[in-house]
Symmetry: C2
Subunit: 604 residues, 2 copies
């Protein structure tokens, strides 16, 4: 079996080779940790890319995952590959021609920053098992010391996946002034019990390895490499999805590769795991694995929804959450929990659950980059614009460097009417917002609090490109994330007829918004009546080739039906506009006959 | 933390205590194994429940999972609990008043049947690592030797979950004459790569335990208990779902229980795993764990679809497959793969994917028993009836003992018409078959090949209770499991209007069946026209309280629309019947105006 593709994975780290561009910041102790522990000295290994602007407003801090390091990207063609080369570099999604990127090895790690394998200056020996316990908060505080030492008070953004995502959450909620925007990928408010359980088994494997020797193995010939390799094998299973593992190994499941290992290599996936385990022990330290996973497992942004909301409420940044549909280490429901808390605390937040078969590793893979990279790129660009709301010249320069599309939003006959119904400065939620055209109109008109909900991820990306906050949610599941009367208007434009759970959606709209604006095709329109009279089902879907059997429309109603429905439900109708969309004119008499589109403003 | 509920699990085994009702069958050697290995002697530990009928037609063989044993149920109130007490016993789903139940410990196990910890009569010492490698086929052959030695040529049924399910598949495809029906629960044609990977890590943990000593540890004070406990911890994670783990442990995640263990107990889930691991090593043998998981991992009923179909084609029994929605060790798609192969090879098969949050363990849990137990109970009853097609007296006695409902199927006006369109003895597939009323009519009329497709699991159970073969599938996903022209007629009665993917479903119906029979409400019906003329959407859903916003109907069409559609698609219409369902009469003129229900026979 050829290993070149199958055996390589997101783990592109170099086996212990020193990195040419690593800088080291040294902080004298004592450093007090949240756990009560004290470090007599602190060293931080970090790398930077690009140039810090004179306004110091373009710094992007990237947090690596459990086994990563400061080498997020290659510095030039001769440099070793970085672990996120697909995302970070000149002209890439995180464009180092534009942003000043910082990445540091984490506290407790083993790639240059102080950790269990560092020499304790007080003893002249490695800390080993005596390295004090740490929390994610300590890891973050150390990163913040570095950022401040570089003269940066406020980061443009933090980007982090997995453990890096937990760190980003911690920073955003404890140091709100210190960051304008956070991209948290494939992460959660805490580990699931299942993920925690895997970590427990991994630690048990390490600590019960006789060569672990209570963590004092640095002067021994052999360390707990068997236990650490087993821990890594387990980790690798959780990084891949069931489907990606089947795709990689199922066709040759019984063809193990001969590699130099004492582990089982009978099955192809077994030899892969043995290979990954063996590679890992060459570059990673078992005590670091214990220290970091314990920090990870103890992290909890808020064990109850209430606590989570109050944590998110402390934040002051704009948020982008990204999850992957097949990630079971940090499943999408965990991102949703965070998104819900951000919404409930009225933060600016966008979210996309990217359809992927690649599991947790998706956030490191090239084939997934157009979506999560594109979202990140737009998000960073929008943050830059936010930072300079009044400097029109700089905004324009940024837009040009970004190659932004013309901001002229598309027109649709009902948009003008809906816009006319919405007073200035009001807060708007647009359900089924599509490419964000209506919201872009409103944004151009100066509304500040605008949120879109859209189920298709391509359209979510289009909205982000327009600078909008957008949430990839299925409104049929309800709007439970939103608080009562969080918006002045909730808009459902030409979407009612495609919705299965009409009652839930309308009820929720009137809970979340003071008013609801709904538009839909009117089945009572004269042409539709004529169609049925001639023996055919009315064709309400105007799109080419759409008929009764392939339309997205699943609900058929007249203006009279809707009015009756509102009466039954106790909804008040504040305004009604019937349109003849052929002429674009408002219909004044016999709306149920002469109007093909109906727009209505509802309230309770 | 109280351990009584949280720490107990499906693993209700007794710690090594001898079982009072175990019998042992001894077979002299040499026994040749499929792997080339030879056993000088074979002992099988087994238990039986109930009485073998004089016709020997009521024997049910139960296969246990990886770590189970022969004690499937308690023999009386004073006996130790069995591992499947909720399913097996007098008056239970597998009723020992009616069936003769056999359960034996598997070959390679450590609960009485010959395995690595048995004494090799040739050496006078335990086999240990010299126990020959075994396959699932060898495990099954040993069970078959036992069954034959009890004078039984043909089993009424085999019931098995997990590893037991693989064994059932092996028996059914290699000894087709030996069994009338098989219930295969939470199983698959092979392990997923992910499940295989977990086994690899588990074996690596055992074999790298220094006390494993190459499998020769029986005379040592300490065996590889650390490695075996770690293997078991891993196993436990895979038996539970993410949700069930969260439910059990999340509220008290940081409250570990103090137990006597060298493993980590910091988190509640950690102390649970340490407890389970510790309990397991008291009763299970590490060499058995290796031997059995290797057999499990090597099993493959057919690596390609073609091979899988040809394996299933060899079978001659009726099948019931059951999966659980949250089982990720043997995910539902694996059951579907088996069901598809059974369908493609024209076997009698039923299938249900039970909605559950309990993961793989669901098949051992009481709260899930009404569904999987009910399905199993009906299936066994139907098998009994099949066995005696001509003995009306026995059939009646069986039905009475089962408490079967009256076989009088319900009537519906369009059923009579549809029945009139179906010639005798034809093969029928009914899509959206509901409680199976139409199929029950056809069964009463003597049709032999009848299959229902239904998406709701409660209705699936109702169909099983009527003795029907039913598949829980969503027809919107297509009918790809079925072969071309596998049926004479495919029926879609009053369901077309609720289907999203109309084109796919109709295309597939005409691939799978020579003719399709479709019935739907006609939007052209005069009353519907009048409703629209009066300004309201036609109300085609006759059910009380169903209106435009809460009907299941999502497609609206007239007879003329449907005829046009057929012309566009090149479907031929062989027969049309328009009904006035108020009078029950056939409409002879102006069908598109006077008929509210349309029934049509289509072909290509």
């Amino acid at each position: 079996m050829d290993t070149s593709d199958l055996f390589d994975s997101s783990d592109s780290s170099r086996s212990g080779k020193p990195l040419a561009y690593v800088q080291t910041a040294v902080f004298p102790g004592p450093i007090q940790l949240s756990t009560g522990g004290i470090l007599p000295e602190l060293k931080i290994a970090y790398e930077t890319y690009g140039t810090l602007s004179s306004q110091k407003d373009n710094a992007v801090l990237i947090f690596h995952a459990l086994s990563g390091d400061s080498h997020v990207a290659a510095h030039n063609d001769d440099d070793d590959p970085g672990w996120w080369d697909i995302l970070v570099g000149p002209g890439k999604y995180v464009d180092t021609n534009r942003y000043f990127v910082i990445c540091a090895n984490v506290l407790g790690g083993c790639r240059g920053t102080t950790g269990p394998d560092s020499i304790n200056p007080e003893t002249g020996k490695e800390y080993g098992f005596h390295f004090p316990p740490i929390n994610v908060a300590d890891i973050v505080d150390v990163q913040r010391m570095l950022v401040n030492s570089l003269g940066i008070d406020r980061l443009l953004a933090i980007v982090g996946g997995s453990l890096g995502g937990l760190m980003a959450l911690d920073w955003g909620t404890r140091y709100p002034e210190g960051v304008a925007g956070i991209v948290a990928i494939a992460t959660g408010a805490r580990m699931t019990t299942q993920a925690l359980a895997f970590d427990v088994v991994a630690r048990n494997a390490i600590m019960s390895d006789p060569n672990f020797n209570g963590g004092e193995y640095y002067d021994k010939e052999v360390g707990p490499s068997t236990g650490l390799a087993i821990a890594r094998m387990l980790g690798h299973i959780t990084y891949l999805s069931q489907e990606s593992m089947n795709r990689k190994f199922n066709d040759n499941r019984n063809v193990g590769r001969k590699i130099d290992t004492s582990f089982e290599t009978k099955f192809s996936v077994g030899s892969y795991l043995a290979y990954q385990g063996g590679k890992f022990v060459e570059r990673f330290d078992a005590n670091s694995y214990l220290s970091l996973t314990l920090a990870l497992d103890a992290f909890d942004l808020g064990p109850t929804r209430k606590q989570l909301v109050s944590a998110m409420r402390r934040s002051m940044c704009r948020w982008l959450f990204v999850s992957f549909s097949s990630d079971w280490l940090f499943p999408a429901f965990q991102a949703r929990e965070l998104v819900d808390a951000a919404i409930a605390s009225d933060k600016q937040v966008s979210y996309c659950n990217i359809e992927s078969y690649s599991g947790h590793d998706a956030f490191l893979l090239e084939n997934e980059a157009p979506m999560y990279g594109g979202l990140t790129s737009s998000f960073l660009h929008n943050l830059s614009l936010d930072w300079q709301p009044d400097d029109e010249e700089r905004r324009q320069a940024l837009n040009e460097s970004y190659g932004a599309a013309s901001a002229e939003p598309k027109s649709r006959v009902d948009y003008d009417r809906i816009l006319a119904l919405i007073p200035p400065k009001t807060k708007i939620l647009d359900l089924g917002c599509g490419k964000g055209d209506l919201l872009a109109h409103l944004k151009a008109r100066g509304h500040e609090r605008l949120v879109g909900v859209e189920v298709e991820e391509d359209l979510v990306l289009r909205c982000m490109e327009k600078g909008l906050d957008v949430l990839q949610l299925d409104m049929n599941d309800g709007l439970k994330s939103f608080s009562d009367h969080q918006f002045d208007f909730v808009v459902l434009s030409k979407t009612l007829q495609t919705i299965k759970n009409v009652e839930i959606v309308l009820d929720e709209m009137l809970r979340v918004g003071t008013r609801a604006i709904v538009s839909f095709p009117n089945l009572g329109y004269k042409e539709y009546r004529e169609q049925l009279e001639s023996g055919h089902a009315p064709q309400t879907d105007p799109r080419e080739g759409r008929k009764w059997y392939n339309s997205n429309d699943v609900r058929f109603l007249t203006i009279a039906d809707f009015e009756e429905f509102c009466q039954d439900k106790g909804y008040k109708i504040f305004k009604e506009v019937a349109l003849d969309s052929k002429t674009g004119e408002v219909v004044e008499d016999c709306e149920n006959v002469n109007g093909d589109v109906f727009i209505v403003v509802l309230g309770r």
